[in-house]
Symmetry: C2
Subunit: 186 residues, 2 copies
């Protein structure tokens, strides 16, 4: 894939307030935008994350039904996780695929970098396609506050679930599935 565009930073003038919670930091910053306007904006600083679209040899995809307190709902999501300090996006994803879904993968292809909330978060999620999967005999322990179950879906079943309207659309998962379908020619 081609290189991403060079950054065009806003000029940071002052951080007037900040708060931290686990891996997140919220800042209120006064900045000068490239267009010349100055303003005060809230911003989440996030260490970044990885997501994988895992595809079994028979074509089914590995999806999670995961509880999310922020939206009080169980969502259909692909396995994903936050980068640990110093960890590469691929290493994060190899770890999370084992912890969350109980699979390892031999074949990894990048699907690009997605921005979940570019209006107020600097989070970048690195997307991967994971193939040549093996079910682990024992799943390694993950975060103890995760509440999820593994679901195997045919591509057509996943498309139908997203089209039906009775499912919230998880931005990172739909974006990754769009790119996976492009790469797989589905």
């Amino acid at each position: 894939m081609a290189p991403l565009p060079a950054p065009e930073p806003a000029r940071h003038l002052e951080t007037t307030a900040s708060l931290e919670a686990r891996k997140l930091r919220f800042e209120v910053n006064r900045v000068a935008l490239p267009m010349g306007v100055e303003g005060t904006f809230g911003l989440i600083r996030h260490p970044g994350a990885s997501l994988a679209v895992p595809v079994l040899d028979d074509g089914r995809v590995v999806v999670l039904r995961q509880y999310r307190f922020a939206v009080a709902t169980r969502l259909l999501e692909f396995p994903a996780g936050t980068l640990d300090p110093g960890e590469s996006p691929l290493a994060t994803m190899q770890r999370e695929l084992q912890e969350e879904a109980g699979y390892s993968a031999n074949r990894w292809d990048p699907l690009g970098a997605m921005l979940p909330c570019p209006g107020y978060s600097d989070e970048v999620i690195h997307l991967f396609l994971a193939r040549e999967l093996s079910l682990l005999s024992e799943r390694p322990p993950g975060d103890d506050d995760e509440d999820l179950e593994v679901v195997l879906l045919e591509p057509g079943q996943l498309d139908a679930a997203l089209a039906a309207g009775d499912e919230y659309l998880d931005g990172k998962s739909v974006t990754a599935w769009f790119r996976a379908k492009q790469l797989l020619g589905l």
Copy 2:
């Protein structure tokens, strides 16, 4: 479309800190998750937003090239905006389509509700397909800190831009485009 699932709220125990910036509020909350675990989590409270995929009669889509300070980049995005107090998602989008893109639309179809950051934001973005567009003779004034230009793309050009890897993937826009392609049979 079918109704979305009923909410399954986590039990709120305590807000230990909070910060506000414009329409965003960041809270650090102690909550009891449905699975029984208690924990402290950061959360953005957001008033919600709307997004439209505007399709011209000749099949081209109306896209914006918009600067986002949080990620220091100009992104390819569909027109979108935050709900004003008491404003319906459709009214927000009719206003934003005029302010950001300079078009009005006669035909509106819902494309579902997407969650950009369900791990740490309660934001819901209401997606629409906008058709039967008319270019306004004069664009109404929008936010004075917006830095954007209007781009018209063939569907195949948009798909190619998302596949090329030299473009950050904006989650809300790719998700909306996925749903629009489903509805339009593209």
